[in-house]
């Protein structure tokens, strides 16, 4: 459709005119203009909702809200066209079969072996080995090898040595969805462990010998402690209400030596509404400080984030400081349980704060333990009441920790944002379906590619320059400050305002420091090489010319100087009063902006695999997307690497 306008949320002056395309996988808006062909790509999988607004004189507005928090406002000239687009998008954004998803057509041009290798990058058996299992207390069990005991669990589960198959099966019958207690994390220093399950089907008075034996087995697997914490992450009221439905929580009287604890994290419906309210605040036009703070508090979002974090801290402390094992559950043990176990693991074990370790953590506590990705993130069209930002909250907890402990993580904010993006994008097969069983039935690993391999290949983009494996913040457990600590929880504008250029520095400190670090490393390596050659010079006759030119090339490549003054930022609309005044000619403003928009050649934007590029102003796509695999590049406009001043642009 031609003559479509793409509005800018913050400045009505900067509407772009162009053509809208709908493909099988994307919506693409291409801006008119001779040299510039600025493109905005949106994956159908990312579309969360489409709103047709009232027709005005200028056309029919269409608002597209995305799961990665991008909001696109289009104005279609003809009502008929607008309606067609609306209907099409509704259908395209709500796939019915898995085969409709992008991951089945995405082609990064890798061969079969490379695809396989990509899937092998994260190996959970290796991970449990790293923890020290199997050992005297814990073993791997194949009781669920055909998913016969629990169809949302993996085939390989880790249980206490003294838990026989009989006990496991018995316990599973007494747990919601058959999700029996299984190992999530084992601390070899003191044998304390974190186990996870779903709620027991205890009702008001039911008991199950095998389930009680299971908990006893877990407790005994930690000889250093004579009791076990059982943590129910639900608010007490909800848990009690479940008893009326024949479920509930563990009675301390029935289970020997447990200490029971409620932690009170709200359910998926509350979280869904909380996010909704927060996004409404983000959509306010020119909010006052008051509007913003009230709106944010009213959404309750940061309160929930803190609740999840506090639960993780409690469990980490129990394991690290008290040496006591913990069994965690919520209702079904696949939402709050996953959040809390993974936060606790992250605090406890520095390995999970490395890039590889983080991928492993997600594979372990989210993917293998049957978090319902499809239902929660809407891969396929389903029940809207199942949708909830569960993993988003976990990812935000990680970001909040990164802000408090800047040296403690090997990866940076961009890593988290890209992972969140791809959970919704369905470009890779890792986060499809609701369980390992479903994924294997669909043969995901043979038909799609692994996100981990893709991220790993681009790991240079995701490193935290302040990280050092021998840094003090990487030794042992992270201990976030307890009260007062409300002020430590910040609004994550890098995620929720990701696509609003004006809110973020155009040049990030992270990227600058990474460039410096790389340059220093390279120079140090050079120095070493030169040192060797100097020594060899005495023996042979080498010319220096080769070496010199190599050096020059490298420093040119790394020419990310911060004083490239050709790029300026522009002021926000600080005042309505100035509009009526004769201001500079618009072309002067445009000149500055057009310097930011790269030409067709640089962008290689004809390659459809440059997916989801919503804005190419920052001029980085050509650097990061030149990878030979050619596929699955993410918009890097969220923290551009270009050699500019850290400037703010609200157009």
């Amino acid at each position: 459709v031609e003559n479509v306008r793409l509005l800018d949320r913050l400045s009505s002056r900067k509407a772009a005119l162009g053509t809208l395309y709908l493909t099988a996988t994307h919506v693409i808006f291409v801006e008119n203009g001779s040299e510039t062909r600025k493109e905005t790509w949106v994956l159908h999988s990312q579309i969360s909702s489409i709103e047709k607004q009232a027709t005005t004189a200028s056309g029919c507005p269409l608002l597209i809200r995305c799961k990665n928090f991008q909001v696109i406002q289009l104005v279609i000239p003809q009502e008929r066209d607008c309606h067609d687009i609306y209907i099409s998008l509704i259908r395209l954004a709500r796939p019915v079969k898995y085969e409709e998803l992008y991951c089945f057509s995405f082609n990064p041009k890798l061969d079969k072996e490379e695809r396989e290798q990509g899937w092998k990058l994260v190996d959970l058996k290796e991970e449990y080995n790293r923890m020290g299992i199997p050992n005297n207390y814990w073993q791997i069990s194949d009781v669920n090898r055909d998913y016969g005991v629990c169809d949302s669990y993996p085939t390989e589960v880790y249980v206490p040595k003294s838990a026989t198959a009989h006990i496991i099966v018995g316990s599973s019958k007494f747990r919601s969805r058959r999700r029996f207690p299984a190992l999530s994390y084992y601390c070899k220093d003191n044998n304390a462990s974190i186990c996870r399950s779903s709620q027991p089907l205890s009702g008001f008075s039911a008991r199950c010998l095998e389930d009680e034996q299971m908990l006893q087995a877990i407790r005994k697997a930690n000889p250093g402690s004579d009791f076990l914490y059982v943590v129910d992450t639900r608010p007490k009221l909800n848990a009690m209400a479940n008893r009326a439905a024949g479920k509930g929580y563990e009675n301390e009287d029935n289970y020997s030596n447990i200490k029971f604890q409620f932690i009170g994290i709200e359910n998926i419906h509350v979280m869904r509404n909380s996010l909704q309210k927060m996004l409404e605040v983000c959509e306010l036009k020119s909010p006052s400080m008051s509007d913003f703070l009230w709106g944010l508090e009213n959404s309750g979002w940061l309160k929930h984030i803190k609740a999840i974090m506090d639960a993780g801290i409690f469990i980490a402390k129990a394991v690290a400081e008290e040496g006591v094992s913990v069994l965690v559950h919520c209702s079904d043990g696949w939402d709050r349980t996953a959040q809390v176990c993974s936060v606790a693991s992250l605090l406890l074990d520095p390995y999970y704060r490395t890039m590889k370790g983080f991928m492993v953590l997600i594979e372990k506590d989210w993917v293998s333990f049957g978090h319902k990705f499809n239902h929660r993130y809407g891969n396929l069209d389903g029940d809207p009441k199942e949708i909830s930002p569960v993993i988003d909250q976990f990812i935000e907890c990680v970001w909040q920790l990164m802000e408090q402990f800047p040296c403690a993580f090997e990866f940076n904010e961009r890593f988290l944002i890209h992972i969140q993006h791809h959970i919704y994008s369905c470009q890779f097969g890792n986060f499809l379906c609701n369980s390992q069983k479903e994924r294997r039935e669909l043969k995901i690993q043979e038909r799609t590619y692994s996100l981990w391999a893709h991220l790993w290949k681009n790991c240079a983009d995701y490193l935290n320059p302040l990280y050092r494996s021998n840094h003090s913040q990487m030794q042992g457990t992270l201990c976030p400050q307890m009260a007062p600590c409300n002020f430590l929880y910040k609004f994550w504008s890098g995620m929720y305002n990701r696509f609003e250029k004006g809110l973020h520095p155009r040049q990030s400190v992270t990227d600058y420091l990474m460039a410096v670090k790389e340059e220093t490393q390279q120079l140090e390596e050079e120095l070493e090489v030169l040192g060797e050659r100097l020594a060899n010079l005495q023996k042979s006759q080498l010319s220096y010319n080769k070496v010199k030119s190599k050096q020059q090339d490298q420093s040119k490549q790394l020419g990310l100087s911060t004083s490239n003054n050709s790029l300026a930022n522009t002021p926000q609309e600080y005042s309505n009063d100035l509009k009526s005044f004769p201001s500079r000619s618009p072309s002067q403003g445009d000149e500055e902006d057009s310097a930011l928009i790269l030409t067709q050649d640089n962008l290689k934007s004809s390659d459809p695999d440059l997916s989801a590029n919503s804005d190419q102003e920052s001029g980085v796509e050509d650097l990061s997307c030149r990878s030979p695999s050619g596929g699955g590049c993410l918009p890097s406009e969220d923290s551009g690497k270009d050699s500019d001043e850290a400037v703010f642009l609200i157009v």
């Binding site: 944010l296 003090s472 913040q473 002020f487 400190v509 005044f581 400037v647 703010f648």
Partner: protein
Amino acid sequence: MLRSSQPLTGPNRKRCREDEMLLGMVLDEGERGFIIDTRSAQAAKQARMSGGGTEPKSSYPQWRRLHRPMERGRPLQESFIRLVEACNDTSITMDRWLSRLESCRWLSHVKAALSTACLAAQCMDREEASVLVHGAEGTDTTLLVTALAQLLLDPSCRTLLGFQGLLEREWIEAGHPFHLRCAHSAYSHARLKQEAPLFLLFLDCVWQLSRQFPFSLEFGERLLLTLFDNAYASAYGTFLCNNEKERCLCKVKENAHSLWAWLNQPGEKQQYLNPLYSHNVLVIWPSVEPQSIQLWQGLFFRWIRSSQYLDEAWAEIQRLAESS
């Protein structure tokens, strides 16, 4: 950019030929200028009753007046006191923290100050018009706006020495009454009439800039905290008294040392520098959206939270920047 105090128009709409001539001389034929009045239109009008007022359009035809109400005086001090109380209150739960923060209004004042400074800068840089800034006395919000605007516009003000010069010019010599304004700070029950944290508000705005433009200021948070400390209590004479006249009478220059002299010593200077600094000749335009304005934890939680992890991060940044 010019600054002054309010014109003494009074209830009878007095005129002053000399004042009109002076302002007229600033602008060329056909040029337009802006007057940024840091009081609300209503407050400015009410000022006439006590002998003050605004520049009437008829007498100053080339100047367009814009009102940008900014808090000062007693209410600003209250805002400061409430904020410090909130920060120290360990009983606030997360579900009430933000509204408590909002009720202090401090961040709104930061937003207003930055917005007004941006407006002044925009008038000069984009509209290429001259700007006159004044409030009532010309000693508080006026200086806040002119000083901040210069930081935005002029890269030389963002160097360590340039910033000191800016402070000397726009705060000290311009006659901000430090002695009255920076008396007891937030914990005192004295509630002095003349006390108000304008200078702190300025430093907070500068901190916001340093966060939004991490490469553009040659100095870091450490300097801002040191300035805050010295404004209230100092071993140096720089922030003493209320104006140059008083400093002369007290013979400050003969009897006390200059803070700048100490800060600029090669041994001392290092800790105040920003390792990421890279001279940027461009104008910097901050975002004044609420998401972009943050609570200055380094100041308000200075004694409440451990800065260990952040200090370690800064040490890393320093190490990396120096190795380059």
